[in-house]
Symmetry: C2
Subunit: 353 residues, 2 copies
């Protein structure tokens, strides 16, 4: 059982890096800061997010918070130059993983992704409470050490966020749906406003402001993010295109029933978004699974649990190095527990009912 | 010079009708309520929005606030059965106008459209402050009486809203851009969530909630609205489709420059949305125009001013029945005044510099 005691090194002191530094300092951990911009390190340090890293420092955990294009390189360097567990907070998880997949040290890497941000960027926008109650994906790969996974989970909880376990590939499909495609469509709607006469835009109400808000985000950053997740984004954009053609047909031919049916699908989608954390308490149930205590088995269980499409609210690992089999507790909504059990049993896991 | 003294009759006591009744009562006007549902009238009346209309009542102004499909019929009936000025608050303006265009009484009709609403509906959702600081389009047709236009403007100001003058056809193109197409695209994004695995949706952040919020609106109502504005909506959906294909090409071929260029158009669009009313005061300038005092001339000036694409912040009409020519004052942003003057002069209006 590992415990997060620090030091935590943060590479990249922008909005996310600085916010994580502030949250770790609030919890009393030592935080080491580095950034290609010495000015950003000075600013973040001045805000109380940590101190500049020196060559003698030996971090327990390295958090890589650099722009998407540089993630792979910086993660590989951190694995090579330290003995620390390494995570990153990038918006796409398959790319960085493939950059380190060949490394013998890859077992110390566990990707992650906090669903928090701001239209502002840079260290001055940072806040120790940026992650309060927000989802934060943890995406172990098949070679991740269970101890490394636990350490990253501790970081997530220490920041006040809610862990969401996904495999790297499923994470990328999930954010294509919940973030990248909504961003691109918001941008297409906003672009039509750029073409509009000034007196037409005077009619803009709260609706169009909400729809287009995210489209104000940095085009360079979102260009990197979308490009890094091209496959999953393209699959969904293809669906959107098909549905857009159906809307055009329905409006053009005056088929009110078809149009209303599509609008009803939209209503169903808004209802599918889970309530914000802090809403009414839903009844939970624990599902217990025996896991052979050798490398790769925990990650395999996670991948199979994730494949069941049930949201795992918490994972507790009870592994005693003296025993050949550990017990893993998966906490899920009560109404979904039976489905998870059946799904895991069909994949030959030993469950405890 | 007409003055709004009441009674004001409101046909349709849903969210909008009840809210207008409350605002008029707050200003001390007598308000008469009617609705196909006697229960809605009782509820609105109980909230203080007015009293049930009787056969002996003689309204000065009738406000039609019924669902889009019934606007034309109800407006025509109000013109036929009263001597009042008639306006409506429907989301689309060409349809109702064409329904009354043949009527000899059409000079008493002036369309309008408040840009305010709520995810809730019905009289209980009504509020006398629903329109505070919101844009409210006034859309005179070429046969509208100047006195009727002024009476509707008085209603708009009494409700605390900000008048935006547009022709009916331009209004419809404007709301296709600022409301109907954003709604349809939000609905397409939301529909993809309805298809998504539960554990993927756990990553939903504030961004996707904002993008999809309007898609929760009543599919029957929005089906009516979009169908009533099919031509303008289709023109823009065609543009969106072309741009969506370009996004798919750019992501598919890894053309980062093209993708970034499209995202930059989106940023420009978010910046084109005017600041909310109540923001910093912008310097204004009045443009004075001579208008021959016979029917149709004021509407023709309005149409020409609107065609200049300058947003008209205020119109003041100084017409003395004893004189053959009146003076109309158009108030616009100082930086746009020269453009409006040149535009009107090129259409043979006599301006006073």
């Amino acid at each position: 059982m590992s415990e997060l005691v620090g030091p935590v090194e943060i590479v990249g002191t922008g909005l996310l890096g600085t916010s994580i530094g502030l949250a770790c300092r609030r919890a009393g951990l030592e935080v080491l800061l580095s950034d290609s911009s010495p000015e950003h390190v000075r600013t973040a340090s001045g805000l109380g997010a940590g101190r500049p890293r020196t060559d003698d420092d030996r971090p327990q955990l390295v958090v890589v918070a650099v722009p998407p294009d540089h993630l792979g390189t910086v993660i590989a360097t951190a694995l090579r130059e330290t003995d620390a567990v390494v995570t990153d907070v990038g918006s796409v998880k398959s790319g960085p993983l493939s950059a380190v997949a060949g490394e013998p040290r890859a077992h110390r890497y566990v990707g992650s992704h906090p669903m928090a941000g701001s239209e502002r960027s840079g260290p001055l926008a940072g806040s120790g409470s940026l992650f309060d109650g927000r989802p934060w994906a943890i995406t172990p790969h098949t070679g991740s050490d269970p101890d490394a996974v636990e350490l990253v989970e501790e970081l997530v909880r220490l920041c006040g966020a809610v862990p969401v376990w996904l495999t790297p590939a499923e994470h990328d499909r999930a954010v294509a749906r919940t973030s990248h495609v909504p961003h691109l469509l918001a941008s297409l709607v906003a672009a039509r406003l750029a073409d509009g006469p000034e007196n037409h835009l005077a009619l803009s109400g709260q609706g169009v402001r909400d729809v287009t808000r995210v489209a104000a985000g940095d085009p360079r950053l979102y260009g990197q993010i979308v490009s890094a997740n091209a496959e999953a984004v393209l699959a969904l954009l293809g669906e959107v295109r098909t549905e857009l053609d159906r809307v055009i047909d329905a409006v053009g031919s005056g088929d009110r029933t078809a149009l209303q049916g599509m609008l009803e699908q939209g209503v169903a989608g808004t209802q599918a978004i889970p309530g914000k954390h802090g809403g009414p308490v839903r009844p939970m149930r624990s599902v217990w699974v025996s896991v052979p205590d050798h490398p790769g088995e925990l990650a395999r269980l996670l991948a199979d649990a994730v494949a069941s499409e049930v949201n795992i609210e918490d994972i507790r690992i009870d592994h005693d190095p003296g025993r050949p089999v550990g017990l893993v507790e998966l906490v899920v909504e009560e109404r979904r527990a039976e489905h998870l059990l059946t799904s895991l049993e069909s994949r030959d896991w030993v469950t405890h009912r």
